[in-house]
Symmetry: C3
Subunit: 350 residues, 3 copies
């Protein structure tokens, strides 16, 4: 990853920032506050790191317009998070691959590959696939028959798009992810599980990102749908006929069983499990490792298995810690009452 | 996926159904009750959907011989589930690939590939592998040295069958699944974990299906065995020396630690974890996310971590919800008793 | 897997063992105590299997110097575990591949591949990669631009090492594992999740083993680090900027969220989840399926979600089982007190 250098004045211009410091000062890298050297620019995007900002060796810090004054040069912006994204792109630009099909790729003669797309070595593109402008299909990726990939999408090595899957624009599919595998559906008859043919597809809308080795199954009939802007982390499982609304977040190792429906802006933390045929309302947030077995209201915040409202769950957890103590107290009370009944006092020393 | 059209009379014949309706009526697709259009055939396989069946726009519905009368044409069958499977196959037949080895596949000269098998582009078949009749090895799949694949099996893109693994007939291995990776075994000695060579293999019996990105480790010695007809979902982990009986079901993200043994017809719901050296009896059912640390009786139905009989677990969960309330009541009782002891009454307002 | 044969005398010499038995006796295989035949050597590495050792049909058993006498020939050693590892290697030697680059591999002209390394069929090695002595890159593996692989490492089929990742010596990366995928980081702005470029890398130190389909994300800035000798099982997720100390063990399906730090010799059992920005002290042990949301002291042994010290957690679990009973007793006590207040006795039959 090549690094570049910039004058603070040029950075201020690029970020639309107000610079408090020397515009001629040169910075050669970007680093977090605690790791930054004397020639690095850094960023304060979270108030938790204020102290680090005061002791950082960075040459300059990007921070909010209304943030406190730091001993370093300051680049004040409206949104430090977005400015940090822009900065990372400036210092670490991604080299765009040369367009064209690698001679060692295997592309079906009737596949339509845009001339600006790049198909890597030993990638396979099957018959009837349609690959849009500026798409990058990395080496060893698999694009099945009839798959459609929208403009600007990127398919990493060993990702698998099975027959008929449709991706929107600017979709990123990371290495080893499998989109369009058969859903897990059987009928038990005559002593064996009979496979229900999974003849539907998967539709992935614009700006979705799908993590390494994640799996998204095709629908039995119709389509499994991942809504626009939704981000899916590594090793997540999405079952057949699931629909996920826009701008949702599925953290690593989440599992969603068949035919469940997630709204917009849903957040499922790591290792959450969702049962089948469940509806999760818009904006619901489910804490890590929780298990959801029933519909969830929009905006609900849940924790635990079975999941409870997060405040209730925390109260329950606190009480659980005191359970052995509670049981002991209960035995004490019984004994005191027994003694009362035998004519004495219930007093502990009684 | 091509769609076809059929007269209801022809469908009745194909399904062995009794038709109540016009045999000349043409249907052009198959769809669920709620999504079916006026030219679709649909199916009622679960009483939960009776209401949808009455309001469906479908031209005809496949249903049980003794089911109620619907406003649509009806195709009455003994087993609607199996009829649905047959219907899906009629409307969405899977194109069989041309037999033969793709010129861009790499097949060892001493591998034995049946002339009716199909080996896709950039698939690798190592020395000594034996590939049976009508097997389909998709593009970019890996078949290790000495692997045996029984007749009619299908290996999806990027699936990996490591050296010496043996698959029965009609086995399906989905994309990215890894069969025969090393088991996770070490001896801690002289300050480091020393790898125990994993020199056993994996035996997958007939009619097993293995999901995308699932992993099934080879035995240290002997074999990890997946029994006939067992279905394994995506991202499931099966440790070394595990044996799984026939017709079991392992839902997505289940993990089974080394040397555990599952009986016939076991069902493990999503994200269940099984400790090592545990035996799960025939027909046991374990609810989602549960953790099993001890042997399970045949037919047991378990829930939770640690797992309890499902009815007990549900009772416990209900009481847990009332825990903060319980703790409060206990404090009240203590106070009442204290007051009694001081000579007053225990009355709350006392 | 070829098997060989050895005289017991030769085995004793190879293992540095004291033989009690006939040195001319020939053994043709190695097997566990319960599966060994009359011509096999076996091993007693765990006192739990003492009974099996007495009834085993094995010709000879490897056991500790001070272990009891068995009816079979005995090979007494200081460390039976290490002797077993040695024995497995003797009976099942791994054939070393011929060095060189397979003609169907695609290797960038400026990649530096040691002449003793082996690059398999249809493997891809991108520009600037450096591959050390005796490294084995299996068929269909992917080695990204600028990747460095230390001497003696092995990369299985379909493993993916993304651009710039660095592996030490004797590192094993199993099939389908993805090292260096983007970390999961976004800033929510203007109604959408904006991707934070992940421009850091992954450093994997010497003697690390990484399981099939595991995923280890690159850092946003800096490096995700897996310490020397650490062993990672299948389907484990390691988030961006995580650091893992030396000789730790991560069992299958563990998930570690971004920026968490594990010490030396940490053991995380199967399906454990670690929240982000958490520090786990040296030698801490976390039981299966537990969830860690706060820092963990060195040497702590934790269980449950939220995790508690293992003894406390077990006490809590025991009490939880009695919860419905507890609730009933509490109601009884209330009733007895009520009766007392009404002037009677609290006696149950009162």
């Amino acid at each position: 990853m090549p690094e570049r250098q910039f004058r603070l004045g040029a950075l201020a211009e690029a970020l639309g920032a107000v610079l408090e410091g020397d515009p001629a000062r040169i910075v050669t890298g970007i680093a977090p506050l605690d790791a930054a050297g004397a020639d690095d620019v850094s960023f304060l995007t979270d108030a938790r790191y204020r102290e680090q900002a005061h002791t950082s060796r960075a040459a300059a810090v990007v921070l909010a317009a209304d943030a406190e004054t730091l001993p370093t040069a300051m680049l004040r912006v409206k949104d430090p998070g977005q400015a940090m994204i822009r900065l990372l792109g400036l210092f670490h630009p991604r080299p765009a691959p040369a367009p064209g099909i690698h001679p060692a790729a295997v592309v079906a003669s009737d596949a339509r590959v845009d001339t600006t797309a790049s198909i890597g070595a030993l990638a396979v593109v099957e018959r009837g696939a349609v690959i849009g402008a500026a798409v990058r299909v990395h080496a060893l990726a698999y694009v099945g028959a009839g798959v459609e990939i929208g403009d600007g999408s990127e398919i990493y090595p060993h990702a698998v798009l099975e027959d008929g899957v449709r991706l929107g624009r600017r979709v990123v599919v990371h290495a080893g992810a499998v989109i369009g595998g058969d859903g897990f559906g059987y009928v038990f008859a005559d002593g064996a599980h009979r496979k229900i043919p999974q003849v539907g597809t998967v539709i992935v809308e614009d700006d979705v990102e799908i993590g390494s080795n994640a799996t998204i199954d095709r629908a039995m009939l119709g389509a499994t749908v991942v809504g626009r802007g939704t981000k899916i982390d590594n090793l997540v499982q999405v079952g057949h006929n699931v629909t996920i609304g826009e701008h949702s977040i599925l953290v690593s190792q989440v599992g969603i069983s068949g035919s469940s429906h997630l709204g917009r802006g849903v957040v499922l933390a790591g290792q959450v499990g969702i049962a089948d045929h469940v509806t999760i309302g818009d904006g619901a947030v489910v804490a890590a490792q929780s298990g959801i077995h029933a519909d969830v209201e929009p905006g609900a915040k849940l924790l635990g298995t079975p999941a409870r409202p997060i405040m209730q769950a925390k109260r329950v957890y606190l009480t659980i810690d005191k359970l052995p103590d509670l049981a002991r107290k209960l035995r004490d009370l019984e004994r005191r009452l027994d003694r009362l009944d035998s004519g004495g006092t219930s007093d502990r020393d009684g």
